[in-house]
Amino acid sequence: MMEKVELLSPAGSFESLQAAIQAGADAVYFGIEQLNMRARSSNNFTIEDLPLIKKTCAEAKVKIYLTLNTIIYDHDVTLMKSIVSSAKKNKIDAIIACDHAVLSYAKQMRIPVHISTQANVCNVESVQFYSAYADTIVLARELSLRQVSEIVKQIKRKNIKGPLGKNVKIEVFAHGALCMAISGKCYLSLHSNFASANRGACVQNCRRAYIVKDKEDEVEVEVDNEYIMSAQDLCTISFLDKLIKTGVGVLKIEGRGRAADYVYTTTKCYREAIDAFYNGSYTKSKIEKWLDELSTVFNRGFWGGYYLGKKMGEWADSAGSKATKTKIYIGKGTGYYSDKKVGEFKLESNQLSVGNDLLITGPTTGVIYTSAKELRVNNTPVDIVKKGELFSLPVPQKIRPSDKLYKLTHGS
């Protein structure tokens, strides 16, 4: 019997952490302080948040991995060591790293290590090399299914074991943004803005439109697409069966910089797809449904990445997201009446009508999708709520003060 593949989701905030748990992630990964690849874009946790993260995930029986995968300078070593020590103290399941200083210290502290995709592991010899430090190795995102499968086979054949004494587990990316360069080998942001991607400060120049001009006679070179460096997002849900059959142990969803609704929707779809694979109900019609659902949240259009051995050139054709649903912030929670299952909110902008689709997110609440079936102002039913008004609506789960309320509209 094959061990069931683990679904690993991103958690850039407490909202996303709850969203990942609610949607059925087996494990989550997150960064604390500045030594992680989303130092700029995500609301990083601090060392003080570790006990609450551990408590939340332990209750939900979800594993937690801490990303500590930037390059490390001498002046970072003290902070790195205190992060690793706190991770040990708070029983974090593993540290995701690529710098040798981190690998070495984590080994000394006897805390499991996952080799980050930043290490670009592309062959079984590298797996063997890192197995002295790591029990799980994230492969480079640029490998084909055949190559991934061959590495997994070789691990079994050569009996490559990690420090815990078990065969090394292979992790791959299943969904999310792809880099135009081989992971971690891009210096574009450093050249243009002195903002090193390898310190988590990438300004994402590759996502912009460019004109290519011949310097000598200033003739513009004709390119099909102005977004010549922006890769579309990876989506493997339509060939997830093939991906699981390679024998990988962990499927990772990218997106620590993304909002809670993104984490919820992507995790939920992949959870359903993985379960469907194992119970024999992974069908074409379900794939269509998941693809539709995945397109409702942030995406640059999907392609299958490098897994299918297709040529490069799947580029995004627009800036930003192609999500089919857009969320507009309209207000915040003020209270909840558990007996009636009614939430109270304040509308801070826009207006709200009966029938509108809604999204509620919060650090403890996670993500709730609902619709405005009934709206009341001063306990009187109304059709429309205006800016500034306090109102109530039925919500199936508890909401909390400070939860954010969004209106969902179709089309971006």
């Binding site: 500045q34 700029r40 002046h75 970072d76 903002a195 310190r199 300004v203």
Partner: protein, 76 residues
């Protein structure tokens, strides 16, 4: 006179300011973030008044900062 303002919380510890103006910036060994030498703290924001002779070095510290958390003001 110039005023240097440092929004330290968002620092990613890349060392760029130290390279540009080593006499005014150093990296804390404790938390790996940069320190405005001689700066006074108020609500997590550090600031310092200093001579105009430091302007050039610090403007490049400010420009090179990947997270743009160093601001310079010229005072008359």
């Amino acid at each position: 006179m110039i005023r240097i303002i440092h929004f330290r919380e968002k620092c990613v510890g890349c060392n760029a300011c130290v390279e540009a103006a080593p006499f005014r910036w150093r990296i804390s060994r404790k938390d790996g973030k940069s320190i405005l030498i001689g700066g006074k703290e108020r609500k997590n924001v550090f600031s310092l008044l200093t001579g105009e002779d430091e302007f050039l070095a610090n403007i490049s510290a400010s420009e090179n900062c990947p997270v743009k958390i160093i601001k310079l003001e010229k005072l008359n």
